[in-house]
């Protein structure tokens, strides 16, 4: 126990300002108040892998590490679409996942946001459309923001989430301008 406490004390708080420049830090501060204003509580995200290679999952996981510390921004991943405000979708939509994705979307209460992650989510990526793949996420459910990259970095994913919120709340001009 002593060793554990010593390690915690030694490392200290290492969370970095989200995304890294001063300008965006201001945005993030504002974001937190916008999230509270719009939703009255934290932003809840449900992650759905609709057919990815798992590369985008690795970078989404990284958002939870102490350096990005997404929960510190008032954003958390939840275990059910019924608790979610935003769906974070990775992959081209595999035909075998199409029904599960549609059902997840339907189970998410309105108003809801959808962010598609990665080149596959944006365009179908390297897998394209085929007998087994529906291609891009917007071929199956409505998408608000699509974040390219293979895989996109945690910063880019976070930026996509922030953009979706900015889009949903019309008067946050400063949020838009950072794109």
């Amino acid at each position: 126990m002593l060793k554990t406490l010593r390690q915690i004390g030694r490392i200290g708080i290492i969370t970095e300002p989200p995304p890294s420049s001063d300008d965006t830090l201001r945005v993030a501060d504002q974001l937190q108040s916008r999230i509270l204003e719009v939703l009255g509580r934290a932003l809840c995200i449900r992650a759905v892998d609709a057919g990815s290679c798992n590369g985008c999952e690795l970078e989404t996981h990284a958002l939870n590490n102490p350096l990005y510390n997404i929960e510190g921004l008032g954003i958390r991943f939840v275990a059910s679409p019924r608790h979610a405000d935003l769906l974070l979708i990775t992959g081209p939509v595999a035909k075998n996942m199409e029904l599960a994705l549609r059902r997840t979307y339907d189970a998410t209460p309105d108003p809801k946001l959808v962010v598609a992650i990665g080149d596959c989510g944006c365009t179908g990526g390297i897998f394209g459309e085929s007998y087994a793949s529906c291609g891009r996420v917007s071929n199956v459910i409505p998408v608000d923001v699509a974040v390219p990259g293979c895989p996109p970095s945690p910063h880019q994913i976070l930026s996509g989430i922030l953009t979706a919120i900015a889009k949903a709340v019309p008067d946050t001009s400063s949020l838009r301008s950072r794109e």
Binding site: I8, I14, D49, N54, P66, N96, L99
Partner: protein, 521 residues
């Protein structure tokens, strides 16, 4: 020994037919057998300690079907081919000796329409997105899929009895995880039976390969399973370079191995933290995800990418390692190793973790051998195979890595193997960065017009990554079969959870951390 007989025959056959040689992997041989020899060969392989690497179907130049199975034994790698004619309604199954073959055979039936004589004839990768009459690797034009997807019924094996009930989980899981379905039959908290259903992220990779030129197929290979991008793209390039009879420069081989060890480190660090978290030790996740992030940032500074998706390319590597990059890598690795050392003591001494890890999800060495458990999980259950030591490609012969190994076969053993491999990989990274050979990191390949076939076999962080590549005309891929060790290990989890409690399933599952995408293809 009976097993040796097949290797000897393969040597004779390849001598008489040099053009049909399989290249890419050292000590790899091909052998075409007759229908009545297929099962005998499998039986001899199993009796002689051979292991099944992969099973898949292909077609020859005339369009006739061939089923193939790759085995690995002390004598090397043997690829058996069984040509089928239109008169063959089925082909002999080998699940009796290699239980992991069952799902591979079902996948062959789904994708190529070739069925075995084995009992389980349920579809595996095909759900309801395409009709049973369509075989993606055979039929040219795909049927139009139904406008609205339908729920298909799958015949799970029912468990009956007083107080038995079922818990269905997935395909969408309660976390940032890939999709799959788990059907638990439980009494109280205890798991009587688990049945997996996979295939949800099947996105047609094998058919997609045939639309790629040989010289860019490595990009698709890297995305078979994103966490094993280096291993898959290296295996692909190994196969392609075998076909081209090309030798990559020593510096390229070392850089590839460096990337492979960085990939192993990133995954192991992430897993050790996540396994701790699944046992309620959030401190572990915070600490190890921090170390993983440091490693990824060092990788990005050294090679320009956090995950080395397109680093290994045909003929070498995409970029070289600069002197400042090398220095930075060594500094990062040294600080990570010091931290891991501290954290390992904390993990080892933590009573709560020991209580959850020890005795959870046990796969005994005997069961592991019978079921063909492979890779990292196999090494935790007394199956001491590691391609880097047992069938080393350059530069592993020279690096001589130390093999990790345990026999307890529980979550604790799988964590222990990861800790040992982290220590060994950091040593290898430091050694490689310090002794990188000078010279080119890339050469151009020329692909022979007549095509050919090659194999790739690389010890990824999860286990042996196998890839069979057949070159077609016009510089295109005719057939490519990538194989992740998850095929072998998924069925073993069904055994590992028996008699454990349901809340331990996430912990046990994470201790294997198998790929869905690499399996579903």
């Amino acid at each position: 020994m009976a097993l040796q007989r097949w290797f000897d025959r393969a040597a004779q056959q390849s001598e008489s037919n040099v053009g049909a040689a399989i290249r890419g992997v050292p000590e790899a041989r091909g052998l075409t057998v007759a229908r009545d020899e297929w099962r005998q060969a499998a039986e001899d392989m199993a009796a002689g300690g051979g292991r099944l690497l992969a099973h898949w179907a292909s077609r020859d130049a005339n369009g006739d079907n061939i089923v193939r199975a790759a085995f690995i034994a002390d004598a090397g790698v043997l690829v058996l081919s069984l040509p089928l004619t239109a008169a063959d309604a089925d082909y002999p199954g080998i699940e009796q000796w290699f239980p992991s073959a069952t799902r591979m055979q079902r996948a062959v039936a789904d994708l190529s329409g070739l069925r075995t004589t084995d009992a389980d004839r349920r579809p595996w990768l095909r759900h309801s997105a395409w009709p049973v009459s369509f075989h993606p690797l055979i039929d040219a034009s795909a049927p139009s899929s139904p406008a609205m997807p339908v729920i298909d019924s799958y015949a799970f094996v029912p468990v009956e009895g007083d107080g038995v009930h079922e818990i269905p989980v997935g395909p969408v899981h309660a976390g940032i995880i890939e999709p799959g379905h788990f059907r638990f039959s439980v009494v109280g908290e205890k798991v009587l039976r688990l049945e997996e259903r996979l295939g949800y992220v099947h996105k047609g990779i094998e058919r997609r390969f045939t639309e790629f030129p040989l010289l860019s197929g490595h990009r698709l290979a890297a995305r078979v399973s994103g966490d094993s991008a280096v291993a898959f793209s290296w295996a692909y390039c190994q196969a392609l370079e075998g076909i081209a009879a090309a030798q990559v420069p020593p510096r390229a081989a070392w850089l590839r191995a460096l990337a492979l060890e960085l990939e192993r480190l990133a995954n192991h660090l992430g897993d050790i933290g996540a396994i701790g978290n699944d046992a309620g030790f959030a401190f572990g996740l915070a600490q190890f995800s921090r170390l993983k992030e440091h490693l990824l940032r060092a990788t990005e500074q050294a090679f320009g990418q956090r995950y080395l998706m397109d680093f290994v390319v045909p003929g070498g590597t995409r970029v070289d390692l600069s002197a400042p990059g090398a220095l930075l890598l060594v500094e990062s690795i040294e600080s990570i190793m010091a931290e891991v050392h501290t954290l390992r003591t904390i993990y080892d001494e933590h009573a709560g973790l020991r209580d959850r890890f020890a005795g959870a999800g046990v796969v005994t060495p005997a069961l592991a051998a019978r079921l063909g458990l492979t890779g990292l999980a196999g090494r935790a259950s007394g199956q001491g195979f590691d391609l880097r030591c047992d069938l080393p490609c350059d530069p592993y012969g020279e690096l001589a890595p130390t093999k990790a190994g345990r026999t307890e076969g529980d979550v604790a053993a799988r964590v222990g193997v990861r800790f040992d491999e982290v220590a060994e990989s950091t040593r290898l990274v430091k050694r490689m960065v310090g002794h990188l050979p000078f010279g080119l990191h890339h050469v151009d390949l020329s692909i022979p017009d007549e095509g050919g076939s090659g194999l790739g076999l690389i010890e990824g962080w999860r286990g042996p990554i196998f890839l069979a590549l057949e070159a077609g005309g016009g510089g295109m891929i005719r057939r490519c079969h990538p194989h992740d060790p998850s095929w072998q290990n998924w069925p073993v989890i069904e055994h590992a959870v028996i008699d454990n409690i349901v809340p331990d399933f996430p912990l046990i599952n994470k201790s294997f951390n198998l790929s869905y995408s690499g399996h579903d293809l």
